[in-house]
Symmetry: C2
Subunit: 381 residues, 2 copies
């Protein structure tokens, strides 16, 4: 075979790691994003400056490709639909991106397809939400999510009391979800190819900091019994099959204290919860995404070694050109794999990189990841 021209919309860290996965095969990969400072620019075969939110930019870029994929949902999908009409392969399919990027439509899809998820209602703005509370139709506490545009925790408000109602409500078309008791948060990435072949990655557990309400480690395998694990994997597989997506689907799940598993939300692309697959699994999520969208046989997803992943965030009170303190100390740790995204500027809590640590056990991997986090600090010059 000669490889097709593959275009990726978005040149962030996920796009960069897709380019890295393609490098082993010397795969021609074209990337579209605003400018050359983006992480993927250096590692794409060809980088094109343009805006994936702009219809004309996406059309011009996509028309030069055989296959177009994404590393972010916030694309001008009208352009993607048109590319499909013009005969370009677009994976994931544009109607699935439309479905997923609107959290309201996503929830309706779960309801219509008997996929367990928390109860929800849709509203057009903050005043509709307030009225529903006043009328006794909506009880506190609840979670409000903007239907579109949210990312990395942005676009989400947790409304616990009347003060929150007055100060935190988002005044946008939104989804309101019942707060559910959560025992664990899990994530499972599934790959599906055009032929319908599917492969499921091992279950990941998001471990939260004991006091701060923040994900601290993502570990694999998750500390759940084999029955729970099997049910979680079956549910992730079910969602993927019912959506009929081609590419990766990252499925975030809630495990309740009663052992019920609910779908929280999904992403139609490589995901933060799959970074560890680069070192820990037979096939990485990035290579798997390439295999799926290029209609090649999917790879094995077996876990070779327990892993723990931490995000490297910009230090608080530091904005500007990034400097990595403690790099040598970090590299002296065993089985610790740092990934830097090459973002020129750091900002407080900006995702500047990640570290995957492996070990004989999850506990060993977690300790190594913790030591890595302790070692390195990303500040500005």
């Amino acid at each position: 075979m000669s490889f097709p021209r593959l275009g990726i919309l978005g040149g962030g860290q996920l796009g960069k790691m897709l380019c890295q996965a393609g490098a082993d095969w010397h795969l021609p990969i074209h990337v579209l994003d605003l400018n050359h400072s983006f992480p993927a620019a250096n590692y794409a075969t060809k980088f094109t400056s343009g805006d994936f939110r702009n219809k004309q930019d996406v059309l011009e870029f996509g028309r030069r490709m055989d296959v177009v994929t994404i590393e972010i949902e916030h694309i001008d999908t009208a352009a993607l639909h048109q590319l499909v009409e013009e005969g370009i392969k677009v994976y994931p399919q544009p109607h699935i991106i439309d479905l997923i990027k609107d959290k309201g439509l996503q929830k309706q899809f779960y309801a219509e397809n008997d996929i367990p998820t928390s109860d929800f209602r849709l509203y057009n703005d903050a005043s509709e939400v307030s009225s529903a509370v006043a009328a006794g139709q909506l009880a506190l506490p609840f979670v409000q999510k903007a239907r579109t545009g949210g990312y990395d925790g942005q676009g989400v408000a947790v409304i616990r009391n009347s003060e929150d109602l007055e100060t935190k409500l988002l005044d946008v078309p939104c989804l309101v979800e019942t707060m559910v008791d959560i025992d664990k948060e899990l994530a499972i990435i599934v790959a599906r190819s055009p032929s319908g072949e599917m492969r499921v990655f091992p279950t990941v557990e998001m471990e939260f900091h004991p006091t701060a309400n923040l994900v601290e480690f993502l570990v694999c395998p998750a500390a759940v019994d084999s029955d729970t694990d099997a049910r979680a994997a079956a549910l992730a597989r079910q969602v993927t099959e019912q959506m009929g997506i081609v590419g990766l689907l990252a499925v975030e799940l809630f495990l309740t204290p009663e052992g019920e598993i609910l779908v929280n939300e999904v992403a139609p692309r490589p995901h933060n919860s799959g970074h560890h697959t680069i070192e820990a699994c037979v096939t990485s999520q990035y290579e798997q995404h390439l295999r799926a969208v290029l209609d090649l046989p999917l790879g094995a997803t077996d876990l070779l070694r327990p892993g723990a992943m931490i995000n490297l965030l910009g230090a608080e009170d530091h904005s500007g050109p990034a400097v990595y303190e403690g790099w040598e100390k970090l590299l002296s740790l065993p089985e610790v794999y740092p990934h830097l995204y090459g973002k020129a500027d750091t900002r407080p809590f900006r995702k500047m990189g990640h570290v995957t640590a492996l070990g004989d056990t999850v506990e060993m991997a977690r300790q190594r990841a913790a030591a890595a986090k302790e070692a390195v600090r990303i500040i500005s010059r």
Copy 2:
């Protein structure tokens, strides 16, 4: 830290894989080679067109760097010596490249340092060799090697009889070695940092085709007893320490039927016998080379999983733009990791890529590598 500017002389597959290793850290890597068709061009932060055999090109390139390294020995080392005088760090050190790229000096180094190696003599040309045979000073059979410029088996003549003497002798300054009985050919890669820290990779065995006189598989671990393995590793370590190299030293060894271990030859850079370290070891030889020349802590070299490596060679009778037949079949094999170098044109037996296969045992890895070799064929369009 902010990363130094690293320059690599040579943009072949070894240079490409060094760039790939640096991608995880978003390391700025500059590569010098003739033109953009070279494997590393796509994956360097910046690629400069120029000739590493040309003094001026090397000087101009090196002066823009903080650290300069190589992926091939055939460099204009006069330029490297000058760069060192000008304060640029050059690793491996130019005098070591001089020593290694002349196989005569290399052998003399072994003799002077009590490093076991096969008996040898140096000659200036073919007629000197013939005269030595005629005078009874040199017995058949023997191996003649050009002192400089050999690569991938070129520049080597095996002289078994008087016919070979007349037709095969190389008319260049040369090294003549006694033929030794060989039970196994082994290879060990050692990394050494400026501080003298060393790490030794697990021993690799070159397995030859039962009838053709060609390396068929490189497997790791080697099938040798633990005493032999320890002696081989100690010898590789000794050579590295005595040379005082900074970077990688790939040490090729002969194991005789009597259990003696001899140094065959060394290379001051990543090596074909270390490709499998990308998937099979905690740290790859490529990342290890970067760590060494950048004076960062060396990584662990433990073998995580047995591996077997095959080179993907261009099919006989095919020259021209390369096409990869059987790619899908190859990708359907478990734990099989193909690497293509992106060389535009294939030629008979040209190294176009390699495949590493892993498995629970060397035997399983070897079978998978054999299936990969069977699956794929590199032909011209």
